[in-house]
């Protein structure tokens, strides 16, 4: 299948459901090495996104992503608000006003999103942030696209790579974000942001496979 405005909206609604479902878990992870609000922050944002999508029906995948971006920026707050917001904004820009997206465009959009997070947050691989899940995810998506995979293949590969990058954050000492204040005490805990972006990628993958 190809990705349309409708499938994008469906996928975003699925992501909102996933975040709501894991809200407590994400905040719990954030309590371990942060301030315990990551789940609430994202849930608040995606609830607003769902409301916005109920009131508006953007014509293209890019327009959907842009609406998601601006809504997250003005509702989430915290570190993850501008970071998620920038990711969706860059992805939207990458999609421009294409009415539909193929696997190649999805891989490109994902790469643009990840570059945006890195540009805003200035985190590198190994800093124990969402970037540790996002960079491998974008790379895996690129390879899957080059191998001629479907959108579902591309997103599934991204989700798998994101998951292993997420797990790798456990052993890391945080160098960015609140967790960095803990120094060595941040080691042994998984990063909440890496976890939320992995849930996001997994949900996109499943809804692409189902859709």
């Amino acid at each position: 299948m190809t990705c349309t405005a409708e499938t994008t909206v469906a996928a975003i609604k699925a992501v909102a459901a996933t975040i709501a479902e894991h809200k407590a878990e994400l905040s719990h992870l954030d309590r371990e090495i942060g301030d315990g609000d990551h789940g609430e922050n994202l849930a608040k944002g995606f609830t607003a996104v769902v409301a916005k999508l109920a009131a508006n029906s953007p014509a293209t995948p890019g327009a959907v992503l842009k609406l998601v971006a601006t809504t997250l920026i003005s509702t989430v707050g915290g570190a993850s608000g501008p970071l998620f917001g920038t990711a969706f904004l860059r992805a939207a820009t990458a999609c421009a006003d294409a009415p539909t997206l193929d696997a190649e465009q999805v891989a490109i959009a994902l790469k643009a999103a990840v570059d945006g997070v890195v540009a805003r947050g200035k985190a590198e691989i190994g800093d124990k942030t969402m970037v540790d899940a996002l960079i491998p995810a974008a790379d895996a998506a690129r390879n899957a696209a080059d191998a001629g995979g479907s959108i579902a293949d591309v997103l599934t590969a991204a989700a798998k790579a994101g998951e292993s990058g997420r797990v790798d954050t456990i052993a890391l000492q945080a160098r960015k974000g609140r967790a960095s204040y803990l120094g060595e005490r941040s080691i042994g805990h998984v990063d909440p942001g890496a976890t939320s972006v992995t849930y996001l990628l997994q949900t996109l993958a499943t809804s692409a496979a189902e859709g």
Binding site: R31, D35, D37, K44, G78, A79, R185
Partner: protein, 333 residues
């Protein structure tokens, strides 16, 4: 979780409504987007100070809105930075044509959201300068961290920069003074108990009955190290050792000593800690020339305290003494 609230999701809105009603002579409150502004804003020709951050640190920042201090404050959800649209709306509301100084505590969330806001506000044609406060010596070298946190020094910076704006300094001059305050101030805090964010309902960390958290932040995040509870003299010495050696403060320095409560520590303990600090500084020949004791930058119902020391010069002293009229700090008027 034991709190006097109706619904964890409406705590900030209801508290803000209370503040608006209790201080109608001082404050205007906007709810969508959320910000508090001084009732007489915009003040034509005067630089407007706009700050903000997560809620749960009251009276910071809303309690410092008024003549001689902040023009506006943007409260986020509890312990979560505000969003750019709040900051932009506040800046537009209070800009008197002389520009807006954004005062940002150095937390990734605050910095990223205020950065985004600054970009957009400038696009709206507002003159914007930003000062990032990072006075917390508990946080180590910023190449390994997000950098020092903004804590108690923020209160002193907002007062002193606010007085500079009130006396008519232009944006560059107010920003320069704010930056100089940040360079001359150091803080460190400790906690006896954690705090509980209403919508989470879980304590931010757990401490044994004989433990305390040194170098704690103001978001219930754990601190530098967990140690056995000791005496007030030892607690104050630990905090001041780090503060004094960091700037460093030296014999003969004139200082402003600020002993701050985390929210649930009674005044009797804060004055006692202040007394310990006076003895400590006297031994080092450091003069305490101005003082502030009380709960001014808090972490909900956390028990604990922080100490902030600012190296004073004549200009800082004059600006500190200048009249201020806010809900939480008032003198000379």
């Amino acid at each position: 979780m034991k709190k006097i609230i109706n619904d964890p999701t409406t705590v900030v809105d209801e508290a803000l409504a209370g503040m608006a009603a209790a201080h109608a002579d001082l404050l205007n409150v906007s709810y969508h987007p959320m910000y508090i502004s001084r009732v007489d804003a915009p003040v034509a020709g005067q630089v407007a100070l706009v700050s903000g951050g997560g809620s749960g640190h009251e009276p910071l920042h809303g309690g410092f809105v008024g003549a001689g201090m902040l023009a506006a404050a943007c409260p986020g959800a509890i312990f979560t930075s505000p969003t750019p649209d709040q900051v932009i709306a506040a800046a537009q509301a209070v800009d008197g044509g002389a520009g807006v100084l954004l005062i940002v505590k150095n937390y990734t969330g605050d910095v990223l959201n205020f950065e985004t806001a600054a970009e957009l506000a400038e696009a709206e044609g507002i003159q914007v300068a930003t000062v990032v406060v990072d006075d917390d010596v508990a946080v180590k070298d910023s190449t390994w961290t997000a950098g020092r946190r903004g804590v108690g020094g923020t209160v002193l910076l907002e007062k002193i920069a606010g007085a500079a704006a009130a006396r008519g300094d232009d944006l560059a001059a107010v920003a320069a003074i704010a930056t100089r305050v940040n360079q001359q101030v150091r803080s460190m805090g400790m906690a006896l108990t954690p705090c509980t964010v209403p919508h989470s309902g879980e304590p931010s960390f757990t401490l044994a009955d004989d433990e305390m958290e040194m170098g704690v932040g103001i978001h219930g995040e754990p601190g530098r190290e967990r140690v056995k509870l000791t005496s007030a003299d030892e607690i104050v010495a630990t905090l001041l050792d780090s503060i004094v050696e960091d700037l460093p403060f030296a014999a003969g320095d004139k200082t402003l000593l600020f002993v701050n409560g985390m929210g649930a520590t009674p005044l009797v303990e804060l004055y006692l800690a202040y007394n310990c600090a006076r003895k400590y500084l006297a031994d080092k020949g450091i003069e305490v020339f101005r003082s502030l004791v009380g709960n001014y930058i808090t972490s909900l119902e956390m028990q604990g305290c922080s100490i902030t020391l600012l190296k004073l010069d004549d200009e800082f002293t004059e600006l500190w003494d200048a009249p201020v009229h806010t809900a939480a700090l008032r003198w000379g008027v």
